[in-house]
């Protein structure tokens, strides 16, 4: 097993809009294009997921993502 197994990212991907389409880039291999409505639904699901995840996931930092601490 790798010494650096893939860890949850503590940095969000970038979001931009082109020709009315919402583009999400990163982190890592994420590269998707969404209609505005799909982006809204995904955003809501992410926020709902965040609520569920809080209190379960340990705090993440850039350091422990790379197994440095």
């Amino acid at each position: 097993m790798s010494a650096n197994p893939i860890q949850p990212f503590d940095e969000a991907g970038a979001v931009s809009v082109e020709e009315g389409i919402v583009l999400v880039d990163g982190p890592d291999g994420v590269a998707i294009a969404l209609t505005p409505e799909a982006a809204r639904v995904l955003g809501e699901r992410l926020i709902a997921g965040r609520r569920q995840g809080r209190g379960i996931a340990k705090p993440r930092t850039s350091r422990n993502r790379h197994n440095l601490d």
Partner: protein, 257 residues
Amino acid sequence: MLTRHVLAGRKIAPLTPSERAQLEGAISEVRQVAARTVLVRRGEELEHSTLLLKGFLSRYVDDRRGHRQFVSLHVPGDLVDLHAYPMKQLDHDVAAVSDAEVAIMPHTAIKAITAADAELARKLWFATLLDAAMHREWIFRLGRLDATGRVCHFFAETGARLQAVGLGGLASFSLPMTQAELGDACALTSVHVSRVLKGLRDGGICTFRDGEVSIHDPALLARRGQFDPTYLYLQPSHAIRAQKETPHVRQPDPTFR
């Protein structure tokens, strides 16, 4: 000479005059193919393989919704479907990206030349292994790179391959693809490709216009695409040119010995 680009610029002894003569003797016909013509359908029974002489071909798989994923792009000198010789059918389609010229090599002829000349057989095997190496790199590209990284990697790879066969340089090369096809290669929508190209142009890294790629900052292109040409098995002179612009960006896992 129909086989002049075969294995050109790669890290293997060039074809000898005898090997070249055998390979050319195995060609039964040369065909002109218009852009967007399908040459081979997935699952079709095959009795020949194809050598690309001019232009660009793609291998691709379509999903249930008709979204196309290129699984490789072929440049002149590539034995596009030599794997059809032992397998007799393909698990993907083959189509012309641009107008192209192809040489048809019947499997009976391939069998004869590989049976007669073990060294030529080894070189043809090397050609199919190059395909495998590029497939591994394409998995890396789509799995680990964001949209800009994917396009940078694709441009860097294609430029290096064309340079190896003497059809372009690292500074500019012809790539007669649409933005949609670039998206098919990089698993991106056309809109996303458009955005990426704008960013690359504004950032002074490269320009893609009218089927021509102009690379303004090769070092930045390579770095942004994490491009390391080792997997292309280029001759040292070509590799040095491609590598010169490429800092070693991939970090080995220190726990692996």
